[in-house]
């Protein structure tokens, strides 16, 4: 298999005695669109910051294109595009001036792509940034991150301030950019529907730990809710196999299980003398269940 675009082994981060991340292991290859999801304060931005070398980890290591994130050579940095959660634009200058600045800082610059995206996303390039709306600034930041045709695009909540129409256009463009499977896109979001529309891989962060990482389809297929209705009282201390969490009340039980198989469910039916219903879950339900 080819070299991973990004990888992390045992990443941990503690700031002022507070554990932000603990023991995160990930590995992703070229062409993936990875969505990072988690509650506020789950560690999404910290994880992205460590992967990009903005912040040294307290434990473990992270690598981009095979290089230590903290010592990325200039050639590797030129292959990365980044859109921060809070834009880092200069208020006094215009969007066009920002493009001139950024184009001079990259050895290659795709002016055609930038011009096309600026038109599609309706970014006003002639006005100083200080009078742009938050959404317009976010679109300009994304434009600047895409201008040099990055192989790895990292976006920290890129669509949070966009209206539904602009968000749809933005995501559509992301899909088109990633359609040739040569680019890797890593983005964090709170908006589950965005993630379902674009991502093919998913990392779910819970309290600084990686609760799940893998294919989105696999997650949906392998994690289901089992509703158990028994004819007699369920045994005390019942532990359903592969349960991520479960509730048991006399003759009724509900469990979120991963890696289930129809055979195991049949065995359970027989052993408990119960009716078992297997419910597929949408990503939003999965997210809620995993955080309940």
């Amino acid at each position: 298999m080819s070299q991973p675009v990004l990888s992390a082994r045992g990443l941990g981060k503690v700031i002022k005695g507070r554990t932000i991340l603990k023991d995160v292991h990930v590995e992703e290859h070229r062409g993936s669109v990875i969505g990072v999801i988690g509650r506020n304060g789950a560690g999404k931005t910290t994880l992205l910051d460590i992967l990009l070398g903005f912040s040294p980890p307290t434990s473990g290591e992270s690598r981009l294109f095979g290089h230590d994130s903290l010592a990325l050579p200039a050639t590797v940095k030129g292959r990365i595009g980044f859109v921060p959660q809070q834009d880092e634009l200069i208020p006094m200058i215009t969007g066009a001036q920002h493009l001139a600045l950024h184009s001079s800082l990259h050895p290659r610059w795709n002016g055609d792509l930038v011009a096309r995206l600026a038109r599609t996303w309706e970014v006003p390039l002639d006005r100083p940034v200080q009078i742009l709306s938050v959404g317009e600034r976010q679109k300009l930041s994304s434009l600047l991150a895409l201008g040099h045709d990055p192989e790895l695009l990292v976006l920290d909540e890129p669509a949070a301030s966009l209206d539904p129409l602009a968000r749809r256009r933005f995501l559509q463009e992301l899909l088109e950019i990633s359609s040739d499977r040569t680019r890797t896109i890593l983005f964090s979001t709170h908006i589950v529907s965005d993630l379902e529309r674009v991502a093919d891989r998913i990392w779910i962060l819970r309290e600084g730990a990686l609760a799940w990482s893998g294919d989105l389809d696999t997650l949906k297929e392998s994690v289901v809710r089992l509703q158990v209705r028994a004819r007699r009282a369920l045994p005390a201390g019942l532990a359903l196999p592969h349960a991520l969490r479960q509730q048991v009340r006399e003759t009724w039980a509900s469990a979120l299980v991963s890696q289930w198989s129809p055979g195991e469910v049949q065995d359970l039916r027989d052993s408990l003398d119960a009716e078992i219903e297997v419910q597929s879950l949408g990503l939003e339900d999965l997210f809620v269940e995993l955080h309940a």
């Binding site: 910051d49 010592a71 834009d87 880092e88 200069i90 208020p91 006094m92 600045l101 800082l105």
Partner: protein, 461 residues
């Protein structure tokens, strides 16, 4: 939220303020206890009271306007019943409390026990110091508030009132706070302060009604943006992303114009107030030059956080970013300090004729500015205790050096004492640079965050 609680918040908003307030209270209380119980009336003990009070006063005096802006700009404050009035009252209460503390400290130091004191009643000392302190803190408060978002009309209304107050109140006089000053001066300053608060309060509470359209921009940054040029050349682009779009020539021109404008303004008000011409010029040297040096150095404070933008974009490693920031800091410092120096030389040559007595002040101010900007480059870890101690040392050298240089204009025998201060400054600069360089090699931008610059000013948001 009650007014007292708002006042307490204003005093303890940031961790550094809480540290300084606690340290100041400890010093002042220790000194006061020794004086009041009659254990000691020595100069050292009295100094402890004054230094403690000063340490407690400094943070709210310098940053009061900024904190008030942050507190009052929250929309929830505007929606709460009489929310804006209560925040305003809270700020005023904070300054009154601090002025009272200053008055108590001075009257205790000058009025108690044997020793060199003024032959005036204690209540007279307290009243004069209270008025002086409230006037000065009001001026600083309004200045720092205005700087967060320039409002020319407000400055135009309040400026003359404050200037009259400052000229009468903060005279560079060895006997400050002048408890024997005439009643007319005290009442003029008190009237100026009250008028300033009334004017500011009326404007502040009525500003939503005065607003006729939504402001998406601010006057001064908008004007400055007209002169910004982006050439698309890599070195210039790196500097703009790191330090903002004002180049060295524009910084120098603006500083020079600001110095001359301020000097002209002081001259006019001095003339209106009937005080001597030399007095106005002295204030220029006393306030503007040291301030310019420190302001130029302090502007560097944003660089460690902003360098994050260039980590991926500029292809530089952390050490390369440090060297870029250092070069940028020197460039901006040289531009603003050079322009201020030129303005001072011209003013002195054609108007003041002080025959070079201000040179020590300029030298000390220059060194203080350099140590200040290396301190800012060194600060990449927030405010740990060690950094607070270093900041106290930098401030002590700055204020001690400026005070000594100012006095040396009148007492040349003090000049040799400037040498150790300059040596200490130079050693501190070398030490700070060495530590800053090491810190930048492991800088963590989760800790050293981009500063919350005031919307629309030259920095990034």
């Amino acid at each position: 939220m009650g007014i007292a609680r708002i006042a307490w918040l204003m005093l303890t908003w940031r961790p550094l303020m809480r540290w300084m307030l606690a340290a100041g209270a400890l010093f002042a209380a220790s000194g006061a206890t020794l004086v009041l119980t009659g254990v000691s009336h020595s100069v050292g003990v009295r100094l402890l009271v004054l230094v403690g009070t000063a340490i407690g006063l400094i943070p709210v005096t310098i940053t009061g306007g900024m904190m008030f802006r942050a507190a009052s700009d929250a929309r929830a404050i505007g929606l709460a019943p009489q929310g804006e009035l209560r925040v305003l009252a809270g700020m005023f209460t904070t300054l009154v409390a601090m002025a009272l503390a200053a008055a108590l400290a001075w009257s205790l130091v000058l009025g108690a026990g044997p020793g060199p004191g003024f032959a005036v009643p204690g209540h007279r000392i307290a009243a004069v110091v209270f008025v002086d302190a409230l006037g000065a803190m009001t001026a600083f408060f309004l200045a720092s508030y205005s700087l967060t978002r320039p409002r020319i009309p407000v400055l135009a209304i309040l400026g003359p009132l404050l200037a009259v107050g400052l000229i009468l109140g903060i005279e560079p006089d060895p006997h400050f706070p002048r408890p024997d000053s005439p009643n007319s001066e005290v009442f003029t300053l008190l009237a100026a302060t009250v008028l300033a608060w009334l004017g500011f309060g009326t404007w502040f509470l009525g500003r939503s009604r005065l607003r006729t359209r939504a402001h998406g921009t601010n006057t001064i940054p908008w004007l400055l943006s007209r002169w910004v040029r982006v050439t698309g050349v890599r070195p210039q682009s790196l500097r703009i992303v790191l330090a903002g779009p004002l180049d060295a020539r524009m910084t120098a021109a603006l500083t020079f114009a600001a110095c001359l404008a301020l000097f002209a303004f002081i001259e006019i008000v001095t003339w209106l107030g009937g005080t001597s011409r030399h007095h106005g010029g002295a204030i220029l040297f006393f306030l503007v030059v040291p301030y310019m040096a420190v302001a130029a150095g302090s502007a560097t404070g944003a660089l460690p956080g902003r360098a994050r933008s260039l980590w991926l974009l500029g292809g530089l490693d952390r050490l390369g970013l440090f060297h870029l920031a250092e070069a940028s800091a020197w460039r901006q410092f040289a531009a603003s300090a050079g322009a201020a120096l030129l303005a001072c030389v011209l003013v002195d040559e054609f108007l003041l004729h002080s025959h070079g007595t201000e040179i020590p002040l300029l030298v000390i101010a220059g060194f203080a500015g350099v140590s200040m900007f290396y301190f800012q480059l060194f600060r990449t870890k927030g405010w740990p205790v060690g950094d607070i101690a270093v900041s106290a040392l930098v401030c002590a050298l700055w204020s001690g050096g400026i005070g000594l240089a100012q006095e040396s204009a009148r007492s040349p025998q003090l000049l040799p004492w400037l040498a150790p201060i300059l040596l200490l400054d130079a050693a501190l600069v070398l030490l700070l640079r060495w530590r800053a360089r090491r810190r930048w090699q492991v800088i963590d931008w989760r800790v050293c965050k981009r500063p919350p610059t005031w919307k629309g000013w030259t920095g990034s948001s």
